[in-house]
Amino acid sequence: MNPPSGGTSPAAPFSRLLEMLRPDLVRFAYWLARDRAVAEDVVQETLIRAWKSRDELKDTAAARPWLFTIVRREHARLYERKRLPTVDVEEVEALGDPALASDGDSGLTDLRRAIMQLPDEYREPLVLQVLGGFTTAEIAAELGLTQPAVLTRLFRARNRLRVIYGLAPAEDAE
């Protein structure tokens, strides 16, 4: 917000940046947690932590991966701190979480459910890549993996999702 007397608060651009990126942070947190309320909690903690650490962000162009990283850490911290039960995928399916529904596009809904059912080790790099815009090298650094390991996980994630659209899976690399 700009004070009415003129001038701009130095914090305002950062606030606008958070506001702009918040929707994707919520989405990312949801795909990590597979629970809407937990995702909201994670993002709230993320925004507070980001705000307190805003001086660490030297380049706003890097804000997106920086915030995604904080989401990952806050998500892990939340489960560590609260000892939350892990989400049972079958239960999520049974609940028919409306967040997964898509108006008039059952294929999209099926795809969301299929993503939801991917093992964490496949789902997380895929979401980082497609939603977060991370390169495979960045994903490797983020997850503490080698780049070939990331490539394999991404390949397998997509390979599993191909069947949703009736596409034959590719031969896996062993």
Partner: protein, 222 residues
């Protein structure tokens, strides 16, 4: 490695891993392999759907009870019992309280305003925010702030008990009055017709009379 050295299995591994960023040798293989080109096209098509699938519609993201929230509530109950002072201090686990606190902390300079705002400036802010605020209390700060997708009026008024930040939220409905405290700020979320009013103080818990006067001063106009 040249394109000729690559077999289709390795090419498809590369495509399946990162279809948007293919190395030149992969592209070279594709130029001469119709089956792999088809695989690439299928994968790119899948990725477009994947992107749409991951971009969940956020309006469907509203709160429901979560384990975290239940723990927070339990912790608050314990705290209230321990202090036994009748003061219900709720940490802003609630999203709205947290967002209000974050916003006010961002605008920390607003607390330092002391000069009476010109009526025209206040009117401009209120018009932008689609609200009327009929209070006799002096307004020393007024600005139209982005909050949850629209411009709201962020005011600081001087009261007998010190300055209060008042955020007029026509688009945020709350069902009951809630207190919260965080980072040295005392706050109240107050129902106000179809919207709500957030009131914050740095000095002390907010006087009930001051809070009531804020709500009665508000009228949503659009």
């Amino acid at each position: 490695m040249s394109a000729a050295d690559l077999d289709c299995r390795h090419v498809r591994l590369a495509i399946g891993a990162d279809p948007g960023h293919l190395a030149p040798e992969i592209e070279a293989h594709l130029a001469g392999c119709a089956a792999c080109r088809r695989f690439r096209d299928e994968t790119l098509s899948l990725d477009a759907k994947l992107r749409a699938a991951l971009e969940l519609p956020l309006p469907q993201f509203r709160r429901r009870a979560s384990p975290v929230r239940r723990y927070a509530l339990a912790a608050s109950v314990v705290l209230a019992l321990v202090v036994a002072a009748g003061a219900w201090v709720l940490r802003p686990a609630d999203a709205l309280a947290g967002e209000v606190v974050a916003h006010v902390e961002e605008e920390a300079d607003s607390w330092n305003a002391h000069e009476l705002m010109p009526a025209s400036a206040i009117s401009s802010v209120l018009n932008t925010a689609g609200v009327e605020f009929d209070s006799q209390l002096p307004v020393v700060y007024a600005a139209p702030c982005p909050f949850r997708g629209r411009r709201i009026a962020h005011l600081v008024v001087q009261t007998a008990h010190g300055p209060l930040t008042v955020m007029l939220l026509p688009h945020v409905h709350v069902t009951r009055r809630e207190k919260f405290a965080e980072d040295g700020l005392h706050g109240l979320l107050l129902p106000a017709g179809t919207g709500s009013v957030a009131v914050l103080s740095r000095a002390a818990p907010i006087d009930a009379g001051d809070a009531d006067s804020m709500v009665s001063a508000v009228r949503w106009v659009k």
